[in-house]
Symmetry: C2
Subunit: 455 residues, 2 copies
Amino acid sequence: MTNIVLCGGSGTRLWPLSRKLLPKQFVKIFDNKSLFQMTLERNQNHAKKFLIVTNAEQYFLAQDQALAQGCTAIDIILEPVGRNTAPAIALACLDINPEEIVLVTPSDHLIKNAKDYEASVASAVEFAKENYLVTFGILPVLPETGYGYIHFNNNDVIAFKEKPDRKTAEEYIDRGDYYWNSGMFCFKAGVYLDELKKHAPEIYEASLYAFRQSQKDGERRIRLQDMEKIPSNSIDYAVMEKSSKVKVVPCNAGWSDVGSFDSLHEDMEKNENHNAGEKELININSSGNLVMAQGKMVALVDIENLHIIDTPDALLVCKMGSGQKVKNVVEVLNQKKLQISDTHVTIYRPWGSFTVLEEGPAYKIKSIIVNPGKRLSLQKHEHRNEHWVVVNGTATVTIDSEIKTLQPNESTYIPKNVLHRLENKGESSLVIIEVQAGDYLGEDDIIRVQDDFKR
Amino acid sequence: MTNIVLCGGSGTRLWPLSRKLLPKQFVKIFDNKSLFQMTLERNQNHAKKFLIVTNAEQYFLAQDQALAQGCTAIDIILEPVGRNTAPAIALACLDINPEEIVLVTPSDHLIKNAKDYEASVASAVEFAKENYLVTFGILPVLPETGYGYIHFNNNDVIAFKEKPDRKTAEEYIDRGDYYWNSGMFCFKAGVYLDELKKHAPEIYEASLYAFRQSQKDGERRIRLQDMEKIPSNSIDYAVMEKSSKVKVVPCNAGWSDVGSFDSLHEDMEKNENHNAGEKELININSSGNLVMAQGKMVALVDIENLHIIDTPDALLVCKMGSGQKVKNVVEVLNQKKLQISDTHVTIYRPWGSFTVLEEGPAYKIKSIIVNPGKRLSLQKHEHRNEHWVVVNGTATVTIDSEIKTLQPNESTYIPKNVLHRLENKGESSLVIIEVQAGDYLGEDDIIRVQDDFKR
């Protein structure tokens, strides 16, 4: 079985933990693991391969986190723009043997009960073998108005229902024959494509064309002009609501979409004061709070029922129950064109990451991590000189025509306009401290002569 | 007139803004000025000289902030341990012509109305000329139980009253003939010493002995063994309550002791949502909050009446009205022996300051600022190598027997066990980035061969 992992998400509802360039599924929330990594982990038992559909900006994040999770059997399809789930799943299924069973999962949901989940998947696989399109239904615990619902009779779907109003949602729960629609699916790749061709032929045809025009060089890249021609639609609207081959299996495995800090708080362990998150809190008469501060010292005095989310460059304090309004914060940031909605202090690159430690009027200090076997582009800068001090690992440094090796505690200097390259040929992470000095220090002062990552 | 400036304070009630090594009076709260600097500023009109009584740990902070404020006529008396106000003022008065009028002020209070303050001081000076000990009375606006009160009849003191209970405080306010005791005084130096000798002879004698044994080399240093022999007492108990030469002048100048975040919040300007502090707040339906975050982006969602105080290494969230409990936070930190109650990420030194930007397993990165004309000790380290990159100013660097000058964008390397020194001979601040590498990076790995600051 192949697990098709969908990596969408805009990173607005868990700001400042999530950002545009680090959406929810890649934030390390639980035990230093991301929801994306937990998705791979829980499916490693039944899937022999992972096919990750993501956008170009998050490609390297997905790849790095998958490798850190010990997943090597991964293929990646890069979408230049998102067109919702029906095309994303079509592009993935086109890359798979039609007879193979696929499990389609979002990568930003939480499932707490592994055993029940595995039983549901096993049950879904049985229906998939019989050429059904299987969806997973979650028994609702709240009259949630933000989800779609499935009216069921045993394993048959009577109807898909869009997001209901409060009263209707309460009726659904009272009746007891409605599930939440989880966004997880199981079917043979070929069956999905056949049903898509039948019920949404324009999506099928455009996806097929885009797939055939795409190039595979490690990852598969769909061309922008082809992707833009695919109609945008969800698998639910395009296929599931129309097909007669649909089955539903219940999944009562502690599912959560972690859609807000309120939802996250419910999913986290609480201490004796009903506080969640940071364990080393200084607590004076405070209870029921979610505190996430990346290990920073936090003291609470007479505080109840708040979300307190601290990061190096942004702090959110939000009343519990108002978590849905966090997207309004991001809207304000976007209106003000503040980059703080897009990136963290630490920025991920295909070769690793860098963190800006300090900026002054004519200098900038970065901590740079280069992953094993990776190298930055061969580049030069017009406006800045750079000092590098190696603090961990071994650096292979090209400066002009000279190539040298630097060990921890060794340093070098790169004057402006001189071609240079930083490479980690070792097996552990290379960490260097870079001090930039110059009259202009923007990230766009970079002239790339050669780049492993086609930038 | 000389202004005797008392610099006590333990830095617990405004934590995490204040710390043991940066007590309240030195924190830059209003318009990037400290309360200490505002004290000098408001007394610069009437005082021709400042005599600052402080402890050894805060000596350089006081000196640097006074210089930054443009005060050059300062003398400093260093107390190795604090013995309350009666001895501190005695040691200061012994250093002054007995006929000279002194104005004694704390350095951690706020006075908002300069004109009314000056009128009070002028009135006090007239009584001081007639050999009275003058205290300043604040017309109470609240039945505050944390202050001492003065029962007055015009300029005469009927009685000093210790901190009253709530009911008594309310009676005082209803009567209208009680002031708050402000802790500010005005008298001739000799008159105070005469009255101290009369009413607390053991404090007078021990202070006189300690003063005579002290050394003046720039600052005057009282010896520890002498200071410890002086009985600890306040000027109120030791002198003012006993002397028959006491007068009180009213001071209705918007006085505040900034004794908690509640008090600070009252003293600060509010915006249209009654929020104070950070101006660039992202505000979703939040009002009545005090937010201080050193310019960091803060977003509030449905938050009312909180103190939110963020610093690089500690965050306090405290219900408004619970400000007095912040000292309980510091007690917990002290019990846990956490240094975060003592120091900030930025640590002040006699020659300037340094900030730890990042620490790793075998490296530490510091931003170091050396004030003009200052130099660090001639020193060496047993366990670490250091890389220096100059980013502002000009560094005069001694390495072993070599002395060289480094401009911005130049760097150097100091291997372990090699004697070195960093000096700023220029007129602007010298800023260097130091990358330390080694197996042990504690501040105590330092062997000083020569030091301008007698360390």
